[in-house]
């Protein structure tokens, strides 16, 4: 009987811990999203999230403030920089990116050489400069 009680108590403890952790995550989300809102709005959103069991409160549910707008613009800028990063060319010669390296197909059919391949100087690849990709025109 004692062992059964002990097991039940441990299960109850676990359940309470899980419930507390869920409630804690919702509080964190609401505080991050409604940093400059009033205290009443905080309570409303927290209670709404708890009732719905929603652990991740979306930004669009909460009325937008200046801080949120700036955060949205920052996220937009970060996505834009991310797209810029995707346009950064991959190094094609060691750590370097040399645009001219590659295979070229002749645009004119009359020319004798149909394709020309250009490679870097393998005997002198140059010094490495950390993890930076150096662009050589």
């Amino acid at each position: 009987m004692k062992s059964a009680k002990l097991v039940m108590a441990s299960i109850a403890l676990c359940m309470s811990l899980v419930a507390f952790s869920q409630a804690d995550t919702t509080r964190k989300d609401t505080t991050t999203t409604t940093r400059k809102d009033t205290a009443t709005q905080k309570k409303d959103t927290a209670s709404a999230n708890l009732q719905q069991g929603n652990t991740s409160a979306s930004i669009h549910d909460v009325p937008a403030t200046n801080s949120q707008q700036s955060a949205a613009s920052m996220s937009k800028s970060t996505t834009q920089t991310g797209s810029n990063n995707s346009s950064i060319p991959k190094p094609n010669f060691g750590r370097y990116y040399i645009p001219v390296i590659g295979t070229f197909q002749s645009s004119e059919s009359a020319t004798e050489a149909k394709s020309v391949s250009i490679t870097g100087d393998e005997s002198n690849p140059g010094r490495s400069n950390g993890n930076k990709v150096l662009r050589i025109a």
Partner: protein
Amino acid sequence: MKATLEGVTGTKFYALLKAIPGTYKVPVQMQDDNSIQEGTVIYDESNKQINICLGCGYQDNNPSEALTTIDDSSNEVSVKTAKSKSKVKAKTVINFSGTKKDQATAGIGQ
């Protein structure tokens, strides 16, 4: 920076990067018993197009001019007469213009 070109002539030859981006000079060189004439290589990265001209020479002031105005006299055979023997000197111009096939762009560390 030195770049090696293959496919324009029968042999490989090299070109040297100049101060203007995308502009290379092909110096006079001997590759596998073949003499490579001085030339100009201009690569336009915006439209991925390359222009190679061997025998056009290289002009430091305006390298692109060597590609546009190809000297017509270079194709002609010039005959130099000495006292007893005649020298025949032929200068050929090889042109190549093409577009890049592979355009690999990816993020760093991907």
